[in-house]
């Protein structure tokens, strides 16, 4: 069946997916650059195209709180936010995961204050990385659309029942009109299916108490269980991606996308839209005889340690390129994570960390080329003097 391709911004593509999913409850607070999603979805509500109860709350804290209440009441629930909004939700992020609310949240990845900045980087979701949510990062608007649908199935899988964050880059994706191939409404409806909630506050036959107080005698058990559930969700995440790709002829990677990695000696590991220019840079290096490749990490939580090690273990040099920093830490989040995951591995490439594109600083092909050249030089020298470098900083 020929599907419709349309020109949509990343935000509008997400709103389209939300329209097709037609969730029971959407509670949101507007924030740049997520606003286009709220506005577009609000149009669908005003026109009665969706059956959703739309709760235009007074803050992001209440947005996620209302989502928790709705989810606990057995409703399919979605929200979206960005940057400071996600930071304001921080407290409730942990609660949503601990209570196993299968909420889908689209986060338009934007820098955190101070200084205030509305442009893209990953500091918002990286700041929320340990809350117990599944994290998926999108390459473009098409993937943001696909991921919103896939995330609904992942969150609501009875072996998962966890909230999911879908991250797409501010402006470069959120406000960029691209060609998006939409599924038919019915296809989406059939794919996401009926929501079978884990428990419901509206089910009067089985009274439930949700949100109990835990003394030291059970807190660790509860948290240990959460760790197990999110670690085990990887299998479901892969299965649902495979089902989606097979059904709809798509190619959305569940864990990571590898580009020219079969024989690569040097690679860039990055997330989201900036990996495109890394791939173009790899092409240029390959034309000069350097075996360059790119790994685009899509699943950040649960962290796919085994798959990543498999992908990097034969490299000579690996550049971990991140649109986020960790202040006072030895290196930025993904680098720390990967180093920790590979702590006892014998065969490791030489690794260096590059912080790039903070606060919307444009990431260019030449930046990625310089990173490739730098990691090649480091390997040739056999040493890494500056573990973490900042690319494109005036200085």
């Amino acid at each position: 069946m020929a599907r419709k391709s349309v020109g949509l911004t990343g935000d509008y593509a997400v709103a389209e997916a939300m329209r097709q999913i037609d969730p029971d409850v959407v509670a949101v607070y507007p924030i740049t650059p997520q606003t286009l999603i709220v506005e577009k979805f609000g149009e669908f509500v005003a026109d009665g195209i969706v059956h959703t109860e739309f709760v235009p709350v007074e803050s992001e804290h209440s947005a996620l709180s209302a989502c928790c209440g709705a989810s606990a009441a057995g409703a399919r629930t979605m929200t979206c936010t960005s940057s400071q909004g996600l930071a304001l939700m921080h407290e409730i992020l942990y609660i949503a995961a601990g209570n196993r609310h299968p909420i889908v949240m689209v986060d338009v990845n934007r820098a955190l204050s101070a200084p205030i900045n509305i442009h893209g980087d990953h500091s918002d979701t990286m700041g929320s990385r340990d809350a117990g949510w599944i994290h998926l990062y999108c390459f473009n608007g098409q993937e943001a659309y696909d991921s919103t649908i896939i995330a609904t199935r992942i969150a609501e899988n009875p072996n998962v029942y966890l909230p999911v964050i879908v991250g797409l880059d501010a402006f470069n994706i959120s406000h960029n009109t691209e060609r998006i191939e939409l599924l038919d409404d019915q296809e989406v409806k059939d794919f996401v299916g009926e929501f079978n909630p884990p428990y419901s506050l509206l089910d009067l036959k089985y009274p439930v108490s949700v949100g109990a107080y835990f003394l030291p005698d059970y807190y660790m058990e509860a948290r240990r269980k959460l760790q197990e559930v999110i670690q085990n969700s990887k299998k479901v995440i892969v299965e649902i991606h495979e089902e989606y790709n097979k059904k709809f002829g798509r190619n959305v990677p569940a864990i990571m996308e590898t580009y020219k990695m079969e024989d690569a000696e040097y690679a860039i590991l990055a997330m989201s839209s900036i990996t495109g220019v890394a791939m173009l840079a790899a092409d240029e290096l390959r034309s000069k005889g350097i075996k360059a490749g790119v790994i685009r990490l899509r699943l950040f939580r649960p962290f796919p340690a085994d798959e990543l090690y498999e992908a990097i273990s034969n490299l000579k040099g690996l550049a971990v390129v991140e649109r986020a920093d960790a202040y006072g830490a030895a290196c930025a989040p993904i680098f720390s994570e990967l180093s920790g995951a590979c702590a006892n591995k014998k065969k490791m490439p030489l690794m260096a960390n590059y912080v790039i594109g903070l606060g919307g600083r444009d990431v260019k092909i030449k930046d990625m080329k310089s990173i490739f050249e730098d990691i090649v030089a480091k390997v040739n020298k056999g040493e890494v003097k500056d573990l973490r470098q900042y690319i494109g900083v005036k200085g």
Binding site: P158, Y199, K205, Y206, F214
Partner: protein
């Protein structure tokens, strides 16, 4: 309601291991706290003079520990006494009783928990 989620029956002394933690730490099936014996907190206990008592149910309404035992007899609720396992001995009942039928007596009287209720 998901059929996999069952009420966990936890006798007071037994402990769950981490794999057994219920989904979302949710407690299913309604109140189960009655196995917690808050009556041990008591240093005084109420007694009722049934000669005076008019079965007005004021003590039943105000008792914060749901420890006033009542029973329907001849289509009317009758106050029988106090739940010795849970009554914390706060004395609110004695103060709200409009006919002063309840008196507080020193001593926990907790040894007598075998009795269905204190009178």
């Amino acid at each position: 309601m998901n059929k996999d989620i069952k009420r966990i029956e936890v006798p007071c002394e037994e402990k769950l291991v981490w794999e057994e933690m219920p989904l979302g730490n949710t407690l299913v099936g309604g109140a189960n706290s009655e196995c917690l014996k808050t009556g041990t907190w008591r240093v005084q206990h109420p007694t009722v003079n049934k000669e005076k008592c008019t079965n007005c149910m004021t003590c039943w309404l105000f008792c914060p520990d749901m420890s006033i035992v009542v029973e329907k007899k001849n289509n009317k609720y009758e106050m029988l006494g106090f739940d010795p396992v849970h009554c914390k001995g706060c004395g609110v009942c004695s103060k709200v009783c409009p006919v002063n039928a309840i008196e507080m007596v020193l001593g926990s009287d907790f040894e007598n928990t075998e009795k269905p209720f204190l009178r």
